[in-house]
Amino acid sequence: MAAITANLYAQHDRAALLESRQATREAPWVKYTILGVALTFFAVFLLLPLAVVFAEALAKGWETYLDALVEPDALSAVKLTLLAAVISVPLNLVFGVAAAWAITRFDFRGKQLLITLIDLPFSVSPVVAGLIYVLVFSSHGWIGPWLLEHDIKVIFAVPGIVLATVFVTVPFVARELIPLLQAQGREEEEAAVVLGARGWQVFWHVTLPNVRWALLYGVILSNARAMGEFGAVSVVSGHIRGETNTLPLHVEILYNEYQFAAAFAVASLLALLALVTLAVKSWIEWRAAQAHD
């Protein structure tokens, strides 16, 4: 009986099975009410905001749309956004792998506390994340006077933007890897070591192939956050047009100048990035499910 059920699960959508059974289905009117309310909520809160971005972006025609994207300030915002992502994503990838390795492969005191601390940037308000770097690096800050002496600008300059972006994306990779490595256990790697493999060989040939989907998942999520971060970056940027503006900050400036079509045109680039992120994410989940079967 259990085998037949398992087989049915594998062959059909689980929802089909649940809908077909007396014990796990609702009266049709209940079902359609739940579906109707849930999908209306979905449409109003998720679909409409997405649709309005593209509608407003194209409200004044394609020409205005393209002009807004190729304008020099927009291009420099694209460059800075890419720079922040190109630095912060690899840094946090290395951090996530190191942290997950230490946490799941060894036993030590304070492990739970460490896991909680890694999650901290998720629960800190983005504005506070920006403020902490102002407190350290600005001219009134801890090492501000020293920086001033050596003519290094961090706050209201590119390094500050990169630092704030690094902060808000710290947990992503570690958070995907830790549960997976925990579930897989240490036996395979220990066997490799006993058979004579060296440290990096174990990692490349045993660990990495097992976690590559989770790793990619963490990378695309942190990339989306890195490119889209607003609050933290806004505090440290100083909003210097063409110099310290990322794409989200450029959207804000255009919007506040009542250049709505241009603001939504730039916003539509970021919305496309979000859609690509979701598509890649769904694809990874599908691949991971296939590998699991």
């Binding site: 971005v53 060894f106 504005v127 902060f167 970021l270 859609l275 979701l278």
Partner: protein, 279 residues
């Protein structure tokens, strides 16, 4: 008496990986965060108290925490319905709906902010029908609520969905064969299993909403005493170069974040224990 032999560490890289982790985390996260408390402690108690209890700041706590609670509650109800629909029913476009639920995680908050403002402004797609009814969403407290519902939506769906998927149908079958109505089965069999996940989703949505900035400031209107959120108070102090005031308010928000993080960890541990027992 012989002591149990301690197993030698087989795997390499303990010192390197933990050392790097702790150094990086300290430099990027812990030391800068400590700066807030050290800066705040340099204020006299009176100055600190004045900064964090100014009437405008108090009004901002009421708005930020009140609306975050309300938004998390709304998301708990509708997130459950959405998760239920995704697990239990077939409908056209289901895969698309499932993928788009994560939109608020992927869409930059500034984009969400201007999109919601455009929707709910007086001439917007939704605003033009709501304003004649006397419901003013954009540029007021209701706008804050709408933005916080948007950014919190995925949390409840994504914590409840896996639990619903793993739910053993045998429990429902047993309840039905013992004569329970569908509603009784839901109320007494399914809901207790979902409860830890629902509370975790609620707490995650609430924690995110309290600190949210980007999606809110465009639609809020930012009217003093009426629709200013707490993160905005920090920004406006900074703009007046009042670093001490900004730091004082930030330390209040940080303490709230720590407490929420502890609560969420506790809830997740509870959920793990629950799931472990039911298997």
């Amino acid at each position: 008496m012989t002591k149990a032999p301690t197993l030698p560490r087989v795997l390499p890289g303990f010192g390197l990986s933990l050392g790097f982790t702790l150094t990086y985390l300290s430099l990027v996260v812990l030391i800068p965060l400590a700066a807030v408390f050290i800066r705040a402690s340099s204020l006299s108690l009176e100055a600190f108290w004045d900064a964090v209890t100014a009437p405008r700041v108090l009004a901002s706590y009421r708005l930020s925490f009140g609306m975050a609670l309300l938004a998390a509650a709304i998301n708990t109800v509708f997130g459950l319905l959405l998760a239920w629909s995704l697990v239990r029913y077939r409908f056209p476009g289901k895969k698309l709906v499932d993928a788009l639920v994560d939109l608020p995680f992927a869409l930059p908050t500034a984009v969400a902010g201007i999109a919601l403002t455009a929707l709910y402004a007086g001439n917007g797609w939704l605003g033009q029908y709501l304003e004649p009814l006397g419901i003013k969403v954009a540029f007021g407290p209701l706008g804050v609520l709408v933005a916080l519902v948007f950014i919190g939506l995925p949390f409840v769906v994504r914590t409840v969905q896996p639990v619903l998927e793993d739910l053993e149908t045998e429990l429902e079958e047993a309840a039905t064969s013992l004569g329970a109505h569908r509603w009784q089965t839901f109320r007494h069999v399914i809901l207790p299993v979902l409860q830890p996940a629902l509370m975790t989703g609620f707490a995650l949505a609430f924690a995110r909403a309290v600190g949210e900035y980007g999606s809110v400031i465009f639609i809020a209107g930012n009217i003093p005493m009426v629709s200013e959120i707490t993160p905005l108070m920090i920004i406006s102090k900074l703009e007046q170069y009042d670093y001490a005031g900004a730091t004082a308010i930030a330390s209040v928000m940080l303490v709230a974040s720590f407490l929420l993080l502890l609560a969420i960890n506790g809830l997740q541990a509870w959920q793990a224990r629950r799931n472990g027992r039911s298997e």
